[in-house]
């Protein structure tokens, strides 16, 4: 799952069966510093409550469809949470999982 910022909305009346009533939003994916990362994409809103300007987290790939009802629909990006608060500083470039694991093993 990744952070993204909702930047817009999309209206489509002709949708694949099962996607009626699903809201689509234009989102800007964010990197670990919560800065824009790549091109904006379109995601289905599984929370049904996200809106422009909000920080959300998004699940990609086939698992995205599992957040919707019915679940087996052709969706590859879904907003699964609206972020209220992030409780730590964004990681710096020199923290990675490997360093963290080494510290844990007691070296």
């Amino acid at each position: 799952m990744k952070f993204a910022r909702v930047i817009g909305t999309l209206v489509a009346t002709r949708k694949y069966t099962g996607l009626e009533g699903v809201k689509f939003l234009v989102i800007q994916p964010l990197d670990k510093h919560r800065q824009p990362d790549g091109e904006p994409i379109i995601a289905a809103d599984a929370t049904r409550q996200a809106g422009p300007g909000e920080l959300v987290f998004v699940v990609a790939s086939r698992e995205a469809a599992l957040a919707l009802n019915p679940p087996f629909v052709p969706v590859d990006q879904a907003i699964v949470g609206i972020v209220d608060d992030v409780d730590d500083a964004p990681p710096t470039d020199d923290t990675d999982t490997a360093t963290w694991l080494r510290r844990d093993s007691g070296d």
Binding site: G8, L10, K15, Y16, I42
Partner: protein
């Protein structure tokens, strides 16, 4: 999902048996402002899209979650036809309002392919 403009159709008489009856379209991925992202894709059509329309497509195994593409060797499926895109409070796309060159670009792309086949 990504946005794309439908720019052409593909006809293939010789293909995998599992692709029989599938409508294939050439799509050009675009950003929400309509700027091409570069490159083209061949997509299976699950909603009845036509040339010049702006559509939404799903990639990867999600593309197989339609009746038209289930259990078929496809990785890109058109699953919605876009009517309106709004970014940062302003409408960037409204179906029917697109500039005339949008339709012409699709036509000229098709002409170029037809010219090559002659």
């Amino acid at each position: 999902m990504l946005l794309a403009k439908v720019v052409g159709t593909v006809v293939a008489a010789q293909k995998s048996d599992r692709l029989d009856g599938l409508k294939l379209l050439i799509i050009e991925p675009i950003d929400p402002q309509g700027k091409p992202l570069g490159g083209y894709r061949v997509a299976a059509d699950a909603v009845g899209a036509g040339i010049g329309e702006v559509v939404l497509f799903a990639s990867g195994s999600s593309a197989r979650q339609t009746a038209a593409t289930e259990n078929r060797p496809t990785d890109t499926a058109i699953m919605a036809i876009v009517d309106i895109i709004e970014v940062a409070g302003s409408t960037t796309y409204h179906k029917g309002d697109e500039a005339p060159e949008a339709g012409l670009a699709a036509d000229s792309a098709q002409d170029a392919f037809e010219g090559g086949a002659r």
